[in-house]
């Protein structure tokens, strides 16, 4: 029943059809027909395939042989076109980029459950309305280059590293996997979100763009902008192309706050400074001080207002013994504070900020131990780019 291209053996025992053999897989697809008037339901299809084949191959086999009405967008089958973003056993990703064997390993009930992506309305079966969410958010970040006029006669002369750097966000295939599982977007549907903000970095990190400051001011002051990200790493885990959207958001923040001194109305920049200063001072976070410090200090009118509005929360915390007056007022200091101070002074002494960019690799970087023998499974588990992670390097931005 297989419609597979004939897969063949290789000398070294890499994946191939014959020796690996066919195996039965049960797909559990979430079906939804908007014309039926019925609620979504799950339908099972059993397909027989080689375990290294993709979940998309299995769905297409079911579609070809059993039910042509199964709805899924797809084209390239090779993780390039970004069409087949879905949730497989609760994990967002591309159906073409997920092996059946891996999907089964993650399954709790021995079945491979495939559902449409989250945070976007479902149109039919596994097809979601990306226009309503994903593309609308892209349009929000002014997603085109605004170069300095007049244009050069030939190409812009720009550092090699800068182009490789923005190529990381250009590697985004707009599949929506990061949007699907963005926790901030679940809470705040207006959050610009990981994909669109990674797109924004593609311009802010591009030396040819002439509006870095305007872009950053806009994104910092938008209540649904760069400071709306809660740093949960979900988008980094979801991304099949190693774009690491959250990292791009953090870089936008650093450039906004450290390079352009943008003080945003959301207190995002002050909040970050407060955090940094707390750790420098105490080695730990001082919760009682954090709010006033994020507002510009205890004596600042903004703080008074914030503290006044927080009185009931503070009172409840005290009553329920979540905090005591002692722990609230006398902050615990890290015993190794001198070590922490040393790190601060070392970083502070640098002429320019060094950023860990896992996308750029350097020639003289030694290979990480264990790379040679790491299994395919382990590499595929990591949705980031394993090869690049093993050879981290730093680059200079701005």
């Amino acid at each position: 029943m297989s419609t597979t291209e004939d897969t063949t053996k290789t000398d070294d025992g890499a994946w191939h059809g014959d020796s690996e053999g066919l195996k039965e897989f049960t797909l559990r697809l979430r079906r939804f027909d908007p014309e039926s008037g019925k609620a979504p339901y799950y339908e099972e299809f059993v397909v027989e395939m080689e375990p290294h084949r993709s979940v998309l191959d299995a769905i297409l086999t079911a579609k070809d042989h059993e039910d042509g009405s199964i709805g899924i967008r797809c084209s390239c089958r090779a993780a390039i076109c970004g069409s087949c973003g879905t949730r497989i056993n609760d994990k967002p990703g591309l159906a073409c980029h997920t092996h059946l064997s891996d999907a089964l390993d993650r399954s709790k009930d021995g079945k491979i459950t495939v559902e449409p992506m989250g945070n976007m309305p479902v149109i039919k079966d596994l097809i979601v309305d990306m226009d309503a969410v994903h593309w609308k958010k892209q349009q929000r970040v002014t997603p085109w280059l605004l170069p300095q006029e007049p244009l050069p006669v030939k190409e812009h002369i720009v550092p090699r590293e800068a182009m490789v750097d923005v190529t990381q966000s250009m590697a985004c295939i707009q599949c929506g996997a990061c949007v699907s599982d963005c926790l901030s977007m679940e809470v705040d549907p207006l959050f610009i979100g990981p994909a669109a903000l990674a797109k924004a970095y593609r311009f802010v990190g591009d030396p040819r763009d002439s509006r870095h400051e305007q872009r950053l001011t806009d994104l910092a002051n938008d209540p649904h902008g760069i400071y709306d990200c809660t740093h949960c790493f979900k988008c980094i885990e979801a991304c099949p192309k190693g774009v690491a959207p959250m990292n791009q958001i953090m870089r936008l923040r650093r450039i906004a706050s450290a390079d352009h001194d943008i003080e945003d109305v959301n207190d995002g920049s002050r909040h970050e400074h407060a955090l940094v200063n707390h750790v420098k001072k105490w080695g730990t976070l001082n919760e009682a001080q954090l709010v006033p410090d994020s507002k510009g200090g205890k004596l600042h009118p903004r703080s008074a207002k914030e503290i006044a509005s927080s009185v009931s929360v503070i009172a409840t915390a005290l009553l329920r013994r979540k905090v005591t007056p002692k722990t609230a007022l006398i902050h615990h200091k890290n015993p190794n504070q001198s070590e922490i101070r040393r790190i601060y002074s070392e970083i502070g002494a640098r002429d320019e900020r060094l950023e860990l960019n896992l996308y750029i690799t350097q020639p003289d970087e030694p290979e990480a131990p264990g790379d040679q023998d790491s299994s395919h499974e382990a590499q595929i588990e990591s949705t980031g780019d394993q090869s690049a992670v093993n050879t981290p390097a730093t680059d200079r931005t701005h």
Partner: protein, 567 residues
Amino acid sequence: MPAHDVLIIGAGLAGQRAALAAADAGSTVAILSKVHPVRSHSVAAAGGINAAINPEDDWRSHAFDTVKGSDYLGDQDAIEIMCSEAPGEIMHLEHIGVTFHRNDTGHLDLRAFGGASMKRTAYVADITGQAILHVLYEQLMKYHDRVDRFEEWFNTSLLRDDSGRCVGCVARNIRTGEMRTFNAKSTILATGGVGQAFKPTTNGLICTGDGMSLAYRAGARLMDMEMIQYHPTTMTANGFLITEGARGEGAHLLNAAGERFMEKDAPNKMELASRDVVSRAEQREINEGRGTGPLKDSVLLDVTVVPKNRVLEALREIVNLGRDFAGIDITKEPIPVRPGQHYTMGGVKTDINGETDVPGLYAAGEVACVSVHGGNRLGANSLLDTLIFGKRSGQHAAAVAGSMQMPKISDAQLRDDTRHIQEIIDRPKTGRRISEIKEELGVSMNQYCAVFRDEEGMTKGKEIVNRLQEEAKTAYIDDRGTVFNQDVLGALELGFMLDCSEAIVTAALERKESRGAHSRTDFTERNDEDWLFHLTVSQDGEGADAPAKLDKAPITFTQWEPMERTY
């Protein structure tokens, strides 16, 4: 009913470039695509784009390489235009934001590619097509008030008025099932190739020859359809493409004995000979028992000879492909590859402005045959083709539209198409499944119209195509709905692929010589005396059953006489 100066069908590189060019020229523009534009198959173009931008290079050298690569079947006036306009187009792309790789001085870096006499391929890692496509889409978003986008609309017919002029199209909104006519002064086809008529293929599932078939049905000639490119390095495991950029960066091809067999075929260019030459050499090694693997059906692509950091920087996508789809770390071991269907050199015959035989109808990109690729396309010339002729079509269509009234259309075709779709949906489940026919078509075309061909095989192939055309008339689908009924679109796509396949096999049977990608074991030599012309295929009469008719079309020569082709 939408009415625009210029209607573009297909939103890959050619379509988007045409839309931007027409909008820049002041036209009202609609761009319609059966998938979201960034899903278009241009996204898969990996290696780069050719242009003579090195001060030591000359566009004439690029043009000659292209003419030679085409095995002298390319039209030299069109090739001169493409190559001379290439550097300007690259600079335009750079200016609108493409993140081309730079060299140490901050200028555009160039990599080596097959069939080229010097390094002239600009690139973005090995995601060049993706990078350009996404940047063009950024521009389309910028032009949102000037270009109307109809994303996920499926084109079912071209509209012609009484004079025979193309005045728009009929399309189905995939999301809602709504059928609508689109009225336009000029219509540009940019729907890509027909790789899905072959199995395996490097092409996406959407590459089903829609525009070729629609133009053919509207009376346009298809040209050079026998010229099907088999890419030398597709993964044996699954048919996926490994970019020619790998060989451009220095990777070797080895047979089972570990020999670099390209020494025999191209002692100078070795692995960087033209694609047809390399694919034939590989197929010969395999056919003569020097292939690797238990089935001896592969050769080995050895990327380990390229420095690892360069691989990770410039070829990271194929590192991922090897790891994720074949379980091979290409930085540590060679990967089994073989020739696989990749590109249709032929297509709708156009002139240098993209105009087809049908007034008001243009074609650009893989759907078109200008012809700049002739018998064999050079790597990294396809992106260039899409952009140059997309731009020229858009500009020309806009200029024409400026001086004419909006033509009148009737909705007879709309009613016909609506009825036809309903007829497919209502078919009883007595015939074959659409997917079965598609499978048989792909396997047969790949068997009989592959790297090496002969009369006997192609005759069989033609019989199969003709039988499948009959079977397709009663083939059934499952989906009875209107929202995202991909099933019924699959039935229409099958019809497109069958039209194209018939044209391919008809032309291939006719050309009794070996030229470019068309390599016959019963006529092994190139024969300039008898076959130095294009073959065209058109529909003999009206209606779906009209047979294919063959004709000749002259090749345009400007400055290069046919010579023996060695690499």
